[in-house]
Amino acid sequence: MTKSSSSPTSSEPVVVADAPPATRLKHRHLLGIADLTPEEIVLILDTAEAMQEIAHRPIKKVPTLRGRTVVNLFFEPSTRTRTSFEVAEKRLSADTLNVAIATSSVVKGETLVDTALNLEAMSPDMIVLRHASSGACHLLSRVCRSKIINAGDGMHEHPTQALLDAFTIRRHKGRLGGLKVAILGDLLHSRVLRSNVLLLTRLGAEVWVCGPPTLVPPGIERLGVKVTSVVEDAVRDADVIMMLRIQLERMQGAFFPSLREYFNVFGMTEARVRLARPDAIIMHPGPMNRGVEIASEVADGPFSVILEQVANGVAVRMAVLYLLAGGAEDEAAA
């Protein structure tokens, strides 16, 4: 389906057969990978390549979003995503407003829409939303004037995480098409999984997903992935191993007997990593449960690119903010 650039560090656009490269995004919100074409994904990744350099300057700031206001509205705890968005916004000179749930009126019973409309009365340009309910971003996109960026909605999507994962893979492998990517862990509760599967299959990767049958969402194979409960099958000859966190906070029932048993059967150990290709990379969106889904030796080992993912997250979010601020096709038409 796709052909990719050859050099891992090059910012040359990836050539997608039969489609001209995208020059701007189609939609004014970023609600999920589901709305993006392969060309738009490549545009975001290429723009992120250029943004990466700003982190190495003496003055890590460009004036692009001067005078724009971005609200970071986080209804769920987050360290990486929130700080990453905030750093990205500040590097582009936007004014940022952080609304932390514990100190907001939500604890007094205000609804999501009311909170958003009240914030919107202060005329921000964009709202970055993290919420425990799937579809919260779609809801806000219908009632708000601001552009909405999904920073994770329930068990639905986490598009900027998938974009930064793809960016990290492309930097190491030079391409996405034709790679074997194994995604292991709590598939059922993972928005990171959904966004990654949509993105990776769109760009031609071979995606394997693996987890205990109780944590495999029914019908996942319809997204074009191979499903297994045998870690060895998923990991064998993989170019990329992506671990997902066991999300205990979302588990009401008993999905597996114990954390120790989970680690024994599904945990990523050095022995299992050895089944993958010798140049495989190990990824994790964080936060990690060491000794549950991933062994410390693997998390801190030579194949781990986990901290690189965090650094790349800033560049990818800068690219998304820049491209949305520049205006989308559906705004030009309106």
């Binding site: 250029a50 350099e53 460009v62 520049g326």
Partner: protein, 170 residues
């Protein structure tokens, strides 16, 4: 075109009494190959290399979001792999028109440090400045109407060297 670039290289050496503390920075897209050509010429004249870099000014433009249609400018990478403090920076672009690109480039450069001076090379000066900006070295002055468009094509980017003046079709 190549004769103009050779003359400009000689003028740069003359004005700066050599190439010590000099660095060349091309503005993307077509300023970059021009900067490389001038840099090669300077090396031939002075017998030593001059650090050469590339600057992308997309993030410093003053028209983001003002043009609702058409392609959004693609952000390309900036490669300035040397310290610009106390150097004389020779900034290179293909066409000097309103001066807004150069304004953005000056802002971008100053974010990298404090050069001793910045000088400007353009291959073509077509007039119609909107800002108080003037080139130090000019390949050719080409008086134009605002309705015309002027395009520099270069071997490295377009496959051949030429400067084309086109009447506006609107």
């Amino acid at each position: 075109m190549s004769r103009s670039l050779v003359r400009i290289a000689h003028e740069i050496v003359e004005r700066n009494r050599g190439v010590d503390d000099l660095a060349i920075v091309g503005i993307r897209e077509r300023g970059v190959p021009l900067a490389r050509r001038i840099s090669a010429e300077l090396e031939r004249i002075a017998g030593k290399g001059v650090p050469t870099g590339a600057l992308d000014i997309t993030l410093y433009r003053d028209d983001l979001m003002r043009q609702a249609v058409g392609p959004q400018p693609l952000v390309r990478s900036t490669d300035i792999l040397f310290d610009i403090d106390n150097r004389v920076i020779v900034l290179v672009d293909d066409v000097l028109y309103t001066g807004r690109t150069i304004r953005a480039a000056l802002d971008a450069l100053i974010d990298f440090g404090r050069p001793r001076a910045i000088q400007l090379v353009v291959l073509v000066d077509r007039g119609h400045r909107e800002l108080p900006i003037k080139a130090d070295y000019v390949g050719k002055n080409v008086p134009t109407s605002r309705r015309e468009s002027i395009q520099v094509r270069l071997q490295e980017v377009d496959g051949h060297d030429e400067v084309v003046i086109q009447p506006d079709e609107q």
